[in-house]
Symmetry: C2
């Protein structure tokens, strides 16, 4: 094997990274501290503590894996309480498939965090990302939580985004400010992704917080809605992690500034907020695709004209997960024949002789054959862009969906062929 990059030291930053990593303002009621606990690599931050000084409302969505990690089990259980006082995240070890020791590790971590912020363990949320199957030695970091709780500060969202990275090449964070009842409220989000990214969550962690006063059931409802076209429509390699976690916290501090609490997701005052949440989730999800392991190009696949939205999504995912489509994009090859293949294998209703396929604005195929006006040079030019839009019209109905992914390069193989060493 040739030299391969280490998970701890990405050799480059994705060419699709944002030009500037944005500044993110504080969220009232949220304090943050990070540490380098040496969980896997020495000298890089791998521990995040987020403290909610007053109990925050909390919502969450998780991996669909049948082999979910121990921290996912904990979060699912604690969501029924619906109140958060602390979030502890470590990178470097996923605490997944670690059996009884894994459960014990989450119990000890939650107890230590509860003691550090003076709450019950049921108000502590946990997430872990990294290698699967190796016992997580919580003794490396539980002793740090007391000090971290004391020193946590509001203006540390950037360090939070840094601490949760694994093979990510850039930190992913974002902020939106909107108003409810004329009162400005802020939404901050961070995320990490890279490999094992697939529909229905991925090796993906994301944490969103707001100072808006919104009850947990309303948060949950808005979150589920926001996730469908964003995180759950993103795929890097079709592999679904055991650890996917998206948590959404609302501290409610804006209430002190005159924002009346919202208890129902259908509250019309939430329109702008909901739209900001949707946009934030989509932006974070696309950043994850754009930082897929080895990614050089983002691929946006839109399928229209399917018999249903569900069918459109299944076809779009079939295209987005096709190694042959992804390698063609890596090679800047407008190889729409492979798109036909991926439509065909999706198992959804499709009629070869009605398909239309576009790369960017270039229609390459129509009525079951190559577009008579097709010019390879024009398509080749479209393939030079950073973001490649593949659009397919099935020609049978109104179903429509968009999915986000990246190309498949030799760097993906290099990164994953030597991830553990």
């Amino acid at each position: 094997m040739p030299q391969t990059p280490k998970a701890g030291t990405p050799p480059h930053v994705s060419p699709l990274a944002p030009g500037v990593i944005p500044d993110v303002p504080p969220i009232e009621g949220v304090r943050i501290a990070t540490a380098a606990a040496g969980i896997k690599y020495p000298g890089r931050t791998d521990l995040l503590l987020m403290v909610f000084d007053e109990p925050a409302a909390v919502a969450g969505v998780f991996t669909t894996s049948r082999c979910a990690s121990a921290p996912v089990d904990v979060c699912r259980r604690n969501l029924s309480v619906g109140r958060a006082r602390a979030l502890v995240v470590n990178s470097g070890n996923a605490n997944a498939f670690t059996g009884k020791r894994g459960k014990e590790s989450t119990r000890l971590t939650a107890e230590a965090a509860a003691k550090a912020v003076d709450c019950s363990p049921e108000e502590v949320f946990l997430a872990s990302t990294g290698v699967i199957g190796e016992p997580l030695d919580q003794s490396k970091f539980v002793g740090l939580l007391d000090d971290l709780a004391g020193e946590a500060k509001a203006d540390r969202w950037r360090s939070a985004a840094d601490a949760i990275m694994t093979t990510d090449t850039f930190p992913k964070l974002l902020s939106r400010t909107v108003s409810i009842d004329g009162v400005p409220v802020t939404l901050n989000g961070i995320a990490k992704g890279a490999g094992m990214i697939a529909p229905d969550m991925a090796t993906m962690l994301s944490f969103i917080a707001t100072d808006a006063p919104i009850a947990a059931p309303a948060l949950q409802s808005m979150l589920v809605e926001a996730v469908a076209p964003s995180f759950n429509s993103t795929t890097v390699d079709g592999d679904t992690s055991t650890s996917d976690t998206l948590l959404f916290f609302a501290t409610g501090r804006a209430q002190a500034r005159g924002c009346a609490p919202a208890v129902d997701a259908s509250d019309p005052r939430l329109a702008e907020f909901r739209s900001a949440l949707n946009g934030l989730c989509l932006d974070l999800a696309r950043q994850i695709a754009r930082d897929g392991e080895g990614a050089r190009k983002e691929i946006v696949v839109t399928v229209a004209g399917a018999v249903s939205d569900y069918s459109a999504k299944r076809i779009a995912m079939s295209i987005a997960n096709s190694p042959l489509v992804k390698t063609a994009v890596a090679g800047e090859d407008a190889n729409w024949g492979r798109v036909v293949m991926a439509v065909g294998k999706a198992g959804e209703e499709a009629d070869r002789d009605r398909l239309k396929i576009f790369f960017g604005d270039v229609r390459v195929a129509v009525d079951g054959e190559r577009d008579p006006d097709y010019a390879e040079s024009v398509a080749a030019a479209a393939m030079k862009r950073d973001t490649i839009e593949i659009r397919v019209d099935i020609g049978l109905g109104d179903g429509r969906w968009t999915v986000y992914t990246c190309d498949l390069t030799k760097d993906y193989v290099a990164i994953n062929g030597d991830y553990r060493s």
Copy 2:
């Protein structure tokens, strides 16, 4: 992009190729001719004509793609006649997604072949493999068929296997001789694969012929049975081609040597024959996996203890198609955490805390965590082999299935990132 190999000139032979390409004897009643028609690359054979001097019984199975190629449509239609006098195969162009022109091309090819061997076009079977979506110009080769029919010879199975290759790095051919009623009969098979290999057939062509006198319905029944654990349990990249075709011809010439015709697949005289057919299909299918694009290692995934065979196959396929599992094997990394991930994402019944996972003979995980006796060095040694056996015991039932695939290397990306150029 670095230098990439061309489809026409594979840079190396798979390290998993057989040491010696076997000699294959003639099948009575089958004559073969090949030509270099320049369909895509000059100077390599890309046209195969197989002639059955007397009508042969024929059976076939095909791609499940909703966008099947024009030649697949033709074969499906002609199977209802159940008689074959000629097979015409070209490599370099799949004649898939080529609309009306594609149909016209198959019509003209079948007519030319029918004229060359003096039969009806319904007795001509066609297969094409190569690029999708580019019109196939049959005028490049239909003029050759007359001469080919005249010069075809029985002892040319090796040239037949060569002529159908695309990105294959070695020809795949095989022969078995067994007896029916004490009369020796022979089964020959050739195949091509490489990329777009997935369950329920693949960019895979395979042609099997025998001199045994077996009626078409019995052939079909035995073929369907033989395909399930072999070709339909093989995957390279999860991509299903538009063109997968497996045809099985029986010339019946052994009847003249005293072998009574078999009309029913359950005929007990066929036991040895059936077993040879199953073995031949499995061997050819494994050769395809071992010659997957960029393959350096064969991976044999066996799932046992699932709630049903179907469930076992779905889990095995999830493992076999996981880019993270395949890149780990490429890196000789016994990363069983990724196997857990792939079990979890399959969506089939599984209990994290009952799983057992083996790499070769090394049990790496048991009861939901790493095997207490696990030693990285022992597992690492198991990963050095050419064939990596991954065994998973789900611990819930009696369902069992085995799937064959290969690792995912940078060469796969290189080959497919520049396939068309």
